[in-house]
Amino acid sequence: MKHKHHFFESEGFASFISSVLAIACGLLFGLGILFISNPSQAYGGFMMVVQGCFTDGLAGIGLMLYYAVPIIMTGLSVGFAFRTGLFNIGASGQFTAGAFAAVYVGVKWTFLPEGIHWLVAILAAMLAGALWGLIPGLLKAYRNVNEVIASIMMNYIGMYLVNYLVRNTIYDQMKNQSLGVKSSAYLPTAGLENIFAGSKLNIGIFIAILCVVIIHVLLSRTTFGYELKACGKNENACKYAGINAKRNVVLSMVIAGALSGIGGALLYLSNTGKYLQVLDVIAPEGFNGICVALLGQSSPIGILFAGLFIAYITVGGGNMQLFNFVPEVIDIIVAAIIYCGALSLLIRNLLERIKVKKRQARERGEGQR
């Protein structure tokens, strides 16, 4: 028999299925936790999680999309760097730097006309994030400093520096946070508020999707992506082929930083009462980005869906409070899913083996006929 290439035997399907199974394991584990913490309400709470945003209809979906935007961006940042052989643990710092730049432009550069203001704010965030990626990139390329260490440092520097800058430039003393940005710096909603009535949705989601598409195309279709991935897989061979590996390390970190930076802008330029808080806390969006990248197996499209999924669960988690669960429990469940995501490779191998067994059986059957 001529071999037919089944969709179910394709690579992409294997990664997809393994992610789905990872999620299922995580949910089961979460259910266990719910039963332990509050048996009587466990089932209802669990259904809230599973139903996610659908409990609240279109508004819920809007909320999910809104939550997804920043973590898709940081996830993309981490996943992109990972594909090029770098572990960008500094998404938080880049995100914070971007957020500050965006808010600063939003508050101060009031001379900018409507329709341009928010765009400039995003660009500023992109540059700030890129700068925050550039430094560990340079250190890695020219001083062989491990990018993990350097970018952790940049997370702290980013956090404290932004706190300092907020206090000295755009500070609202009463509330210990940044001043509100001018309304021209808000991201346009482009009528989305009519569709997803009652949600905080704006065009941020489109910008995130655009970034996903750009990175996907960059990685899979361009010579630049070919170089970047090659350097990630074998730096020596890149050198041998005359590829400027050092430059690529720097560029890769710059792009990763820019993506996180845009994420910061998209969150803080939403008209949702989000302000830069002066707190000694590293932006959690960066770490969530690592989770998203992991669950999305570092593929841009995978990251898009992983980000949406985590946002979905988060919305569901918020609803769980109706059943008297503390918000921390939802964090635990999300974390459980992520851990299972790490197991997804294992699941993949298992699937691989089952597939081989099946084929053998099939061929043996054919042999006997």
């Binding site: 361009t222 070919y226 170089e227 090659a230 020596n236 081989v356």
Partner: protein
Amino acid sequence: MGQAEYVIEMNHITKQFGNFKANDDVTLKVKKGEIHALLGENGAGKSTLMSVLFGLYQPEQGEIRINGKAVKISNPNDANALGIGMVHQHFKLVHNFTVLESIVLGHETTKGGILRMAEARKKITGLSERYKFKIDPDAYISDITVGMQQRVEILKMLYCDNDILIFDEPTAVLTPQEIGELLKAMKQLVAEGKSIIFITHKLNEIKAVADRCSVLRKGKYIGTVEVETATKEMLSEMMVGRKVNFKPQKQPYQPGKTILEAKGVTVKSRYGKDVVSNVSFQVHAGEILTIAGIDGNGQSELVYALTGMIPMEAGSVSLNGRDITEDSIRRRSLAGMAHIPEDRHKDGLVLDYTLQENLILQNYFTQRFQKRGFLKFDAVRSYARGLIERFDIRSGQGEDSIVRGMSGGNQQKAIIARELDRDPEIVIAVQPVRGLDVGAIEYIHQQLIAQRDGKKAVLLVSLELDEVMEVSDRILVMYEGEIVADVKPEEITAEELGLYMAGAKRSVKNEA
């Protein structure tokens, strides 16, 4: 209870990768105390069969018997427990470990949780002396030659008291001297009652040490012969399925203008020692210039310097009369310098890329394969198919095969195809036929000679006397970073060449 006749019986083994049968109903029987050679073309499935025996792969069909008992080997630990050890074709040691640490890695001798290094050291030095391995247990892996690293691998097997030893192409990375020493050690091992499976592409090695020889071709078992009664011609015909020409044909030697010129090239090692000192030579059009020498005498560094992979301390290089000393690797490559690197895994290939992606590694950026920064996938695919066809690169999934899963010889063919197809002015080839089967060697040599006959230049670095004597037009011998001889192959005997290589003789003064 009678002693089983065979220590190893692999009966009707079939191992598939996807739809591709790397082993197709293969049977291999090894007697106790023999050296059993396993012969076959690149990609014939030798390594795969050994990986099945070593528990790295599970066969789809067939059974394995050790000392007559059917066993299931699910992983290398099972293999180890059965006394099976293996030196892999592309072994991997941890670079920043010492020899001693690498050997005890995973087999730590502990007492009360404390590593008993002293004991391990004693055992290792003992073994090293017994087989004349001359190994320094405290040297770092990154500082010793590939040949020494291999001895470390062998010591690892012996350290675990294995008595079935698998050597997957051990001699491919060794110098002639080292090969002699290894073969001696193998003889000694079987005399002590161990059994050895020995994979090699070199028929004289089989003739020298093996008792019996099994032949695979394209995954199928062809037969087993007594080495005593088999001739080299017979063996190669069994393996390739046709007659092989061992002596390449070339046009008369008519050197043209100078293509590559090195003047006073000096390279310092990390520790400030001269590894290449004041080396000057010219390679002409229509010439194969071979740099002969024992591994570790500066040949690798010289080539790295010529190709721009490491900086030179002093000296200059010019290509077609243009000084390229300061040029980047890319510019040298575009100026017509092709490089077949010594370490194909480290430098030559992106192992996790597909074959087609690897075949465009040197020219993905040209108009042919990209337009405004976007890769032209159709062009890439058809180009790859062409090369695969022309250079007979065999793999499971054609141009979509991941290179990591390809056999060593076919990986090498991929590099050679890529480099030669660029129509270079000069090909710098470092041990280009290492690990290749006789048919493929014949082919590669033909290709290099075709470059030469087409009035291009070839700079060949080789450790193998046969190759040096057969394909070169001119031979430079390198010893301790210097050129000690500049001779023609017809003016010198292999023995004399050996003396130069060992530093016992020199005919070129180093005018510093």
